[in-house]
């Protein structure tokens, strides 16, 4: 027995399953599949691939918004030639984020204007780009702004540290 799905209810169900890229792309890809004679499995494969790619893009975008990093202090804008050679050599490895897996801290010391904040923010941007959750916070704080309310749930819950509600 042939079962014809009304298109709207399919989109609705895909939405219920939280597959936004399926919702957006399944019709367009289906037309392409018919035109080019893709086997069913290839159609499904391409749809899944799109969902995965866009999901990671959405995640990074969400992390970027939640990180609170100064937007202009990127790695591209960092004047690496001004950094002491010992520090400069460590930048690529720090941007990879392996120190996070070892729960290592990164401590930057120096007099004002040496680029500590820019360096850390630049590493932060790179980490977000690789899918790590980052939260940048200035500590010239008062109790009114600490703990930071913008903290991403993943940081707060995984550290066992609960932000107070305000």
């Amino acid at each position: 027995m042939k079962r014809q799905e009304p298109a709207e209810s399919l989109a609705m169900r895909l939405r219920l399953l939280k597959r936004p890229s399926f919702v957006a792309a399944h019709e367009e890809l289906a037309r392409q599949a018919e035109r080019d004679g893709w086997p069913h499995i290839e159609y499904l494969g391409r749809l899944v691939e799109r969902e995965i790619t866009e999901r990671s893009q959405r995640r990074i975008e969400r992390l970027r918004k939640g990180a609170g990093l100064p937007e202009d202090k990127t790695r591209g804008a960092l004047k690496v030639e001004k950094l002491p050679p010992k520090v400069r050599r460590q930048v690529p490895a720090l941007c990879e984020g392996s120190f996070l897996h070892r729960a290592e801290n990164v401590l930057a010391f120096g007099l004002p204007g040496r680029g500590k904040t820019h360096l850390m923010a630049a590493i932060g941007h790179e980490l977000v780009h690789r899918g790590y959750a980052v939260l940048f916070t200035r500590t010239g704080w008062s109790s009114a702004c600490w703990p930071p309310s913008e903290s991403s749930p993943s940081i707060a819950s995984s550290s066992g540290w609960t932000p107070t509600t305000r």
């Binding site: 801290n105 930057a108 500590t139 940081i155």
Partner: protein, 98 residues
């Protein structure tokens, strides 16, 4: 978690305690990145109590990468360059200095 400019401004006792318990919580579990222009020997200004200070530093540096940003102020150099205008090229010697 990046804590920018630790030690800037005065923190009261309660804030210091939140900071200390936060660092203890993260110790050996999650990374913390910190920038500060206060050297460790003056951290008792942040934590008030010498024992707390010692405990905090101990945990922070146990697994840590320490970056010392020595050298001239980038900000100051940029301000000077801006005042000079664009006609002057920066001195070549500045590039080769270690």
């Amino acid at each position: 978690m990046i804590l920018d400019d630790l030690g800037y401004g005065q923190q009261d006792r309660e804030e210091m305690e939140v900071l200390f318990s936060f660092l203890s919580e993260r110790y050996e579990r999650r990374s913390v990145m910190i920038t500060s222009n206060v050297v460790f020997s003056q951290w008792d200004q942040i934590f008030k109590n010498p024992l707390t200070t010692m405990a905090a530093i101990d945990r922070l540096v146990h697994h840590a990468i320490i970056l010392e940003l020595v050298g001239p102020s980038v900000r100051e150099e940029e301000a000077k360059a801006a005042r000079r205008g664009h006609r002057d090229e920066p001195p070549a010697a500045a590039e080769t200095m270690a």
